[in-house]
Structures are given as structure tokens and as C-alpha cells.
Symmetry: C2
Subunit: 181 residues, 2 copies
């Protein structure tokens, strides 16, 4: 793989809001995408995360948990979700975060999430990272303890027929890159 391949991957992958509700994702493929995501690096290798892959009836229930205030209606068509649970990190990473007054944990979760959505794209799937969600509803549906944090949930599936990525649309803002010597 060279830099042209990765450019193509980055440009082609985008948040999809048009899933084919009739095309489920196999358990094997969900497992494989998550396995690759879990290879992501993290501060002090703390891996402060867990992934729940959810399909079938439970996925239908989950879709409701990301639609409050009328948001994310497309989620009803997603055949599966990957729920990202926040871990606690290990002691070294936690102490490092405090000493350096920074948020390694959410940074790490972002790094892993990027690995996940890029692996899904390479597998021919489409994804949408949903930050707008009711953690309370999701916890109830998934029977998770009250303290469990769910930083986001990823809708995953196949794109609906005729869906086209708009590769040109995402443009970096001006003035986001400077070279210094």
C-alpha cells in the first residue's frame, strides 16, 4: 500500500447516512472489523475501550437511542451498530494524563475509532460515527451498569443502492497547516 491508496481510502470513506436495510452484515465481518480496530495504538498501551457489535433485534432497539430530538433518522436503516464503551485506561496512562493535564483517554478512543471506520471502508462497508446519543437509553437497552460511558456509537452496514460518496466535498479549512524550520 502506498500513499495514493491511503488517499483514496480517506477520500472515499465518509459518514454514510443511507444504509441498505435489507442487507445485514455477517457476524464474521463485524468481528473482523472490530479485531482490526482493536489493533490501534493507545497511550501506554492502555486500550481504554471495549466494543459491542450489535445486530438483529437489539440493533433496531439501539437505533431509537440515537434519535432523540429527531436526529439521525437514517439510523433506523442501519443493520448493525458498534457501541464504543469507555474503559478506564491503565495506571501509567492515567497518571500521565494527570501530570500532563491532557486527555489521553478520549484521544485514544478517537484513534481506535478511526482504525475501525477505515477498516470497515476497506471491507466494503459504510459507517457513521454518532456522537448524538442518549447514553441512558443505550445503557438500558444493553443492560449496562449506570456508570458505563458510551462516547459514541457507530452505525455500520452496506450503502443503499445508488449511494455515492462525494469525494470532493470534505475540504480541510484554510490555515490548518504551517511548516516551520
Amino acid at each position: 500500500m502506498d500513499i495514493k491508496d491511503i488517499e483514496k481510502l480517506y477520500l472515499h470513506r465518509q459518514s454514510c447516512r443511507s444504509f441498505d436495510p435489507a442487507r445485514p452484515v455477517s457476524d464474521e465481518l463485524l468481528r473482523e472489523v472490530c479485531r482490526l480496530a482493536l489493533l490501534a495504538p493507545s497511550a501506554c498501551n492502555s486500550q481504554p475501550w471495549k466494543l459491542l457489535a450489535v445486530t438483529g433485534e437489539k440493533a433496531k432497539q439501539l437505533a431509537a437511542g440515537v434519535q432523540d430530538l429527531g436526529m439521525n433518522k437514517f439510523a433506523s436503516d442501519a443493520p448493525a451498530f458498534i457501541v464504543v464503551l469507555e474503559g478506564t485506561g491503565n495506571l501509567t496512562a492515567t497518571v500521565g494524563s494527570r501530570f500532563k493535564n491532557t486527555d489521553f483517554l478520549h484521544n485514544d478512543i478517537g484513534i481506535m475509532t478511526a482504525h475501525l471506520v477505515l477498516a470497515a471502508e476497506a471491507a466494503g462497508l459504510v459507517t457513521c460515527i454518532l456522537g448524538w446519543r442518549s447514553e441512558e437509553k443505550l445503557r438500558k437497552i444493553l443492560l449496562l451498569p449506570e456508570k458505563t460511558r458510551i462516547p459514541h456509537i457507530i452505525a455500520i452496514g452496506y450503502a443503499s443502492e445508488g449511494y455515492e460518496t462525494r469525494e470532493k466535498k470534505r475540504k480541510p479549512m484554510e490555515d490548518t497547516f504551517v511548516l516551520l524550520k
Copy 2:
């Protein structure tokens, strides 16, 4: 690109702590890697980041800012650094973060950082994400305003001769994946 290619990329890319000090990275390549990183998605497309690519004399100075308490000595050999600056995000993302009590900003910075290090890997470079840094020192060297946050800084260059990635080393913890229906 398929899922096998991405697996290879994820396994091969790892935090490198052995840079070839005699081999600089061209400005063009640094610019290209940053351009690809800046294609990363973010909450409400807020792109809450800026990147400073630093080489030459300034890079030597920066190396000192990541070595307090004797950490990261290898950074002295890195020919370049990419400094990640925290942006403010846009209004939609900021309001969303508050409503949903979550940290989109650091999540987004992690997502962009993953795009950056994977693009660098595809370009034949090696990287190490350094969270252990003195923001104060770095701000002084870079003449940045006091409020500027620097969530991390990425050492980037070519691996020293004989350096080998240990592809088998990074293993996801047990019990990080569950499938539900």
C-alpha cells in the same frame, strides 16, 4: 485496497523509538502527510485542530520539550515533528458536546492523529505519538500564545537501519469485544 492490506498497515505501523538522525523528511512529504491527515472526519465537520510541521533547527529545540524527567530520549534523533494544536471546534460541535456530555474535541483529535500516522506509514515513514511533553516549553519555542493547547506532538522520520517492527507484539486485551443480538 482490501481488508488484508489494511491489516498489514495496522500491524506494521507502530510507535518507532529509533529514528535515523541522518535522514531528513522532505518538506513536500511532510506537507503531503499532513494534507491527508486533514481529510479526517470530525464532529459536525468542525476540524478542531491545526498542524505545525517542524524540521531543522526548530525540530532540535522541540525535542527538548518532550524529554523532561528523562523521557523520550530517542526524540533527539527525530528529524521532524508534527505539532498538533487544539482548535476550538465550531458552535454546533461545542453545543453538541455539552448537550451530550461528551468530549468530541479530543475524540476528533485522536481520529485525525490516526489518519496522520497511518498516512505516514503508507509513505514509508515511522512515527511516535508523544503525549508526554511540556506544553509550556513547546509554546515558548514555537512562540505560541499562552492559551494554545498542544494535546500531543508526533515524532516523524525514517527508521534507523536494522529497525524492525514487532508485528506480533500488540495484542488486544481479552474481553474487549462482544457480539449482541
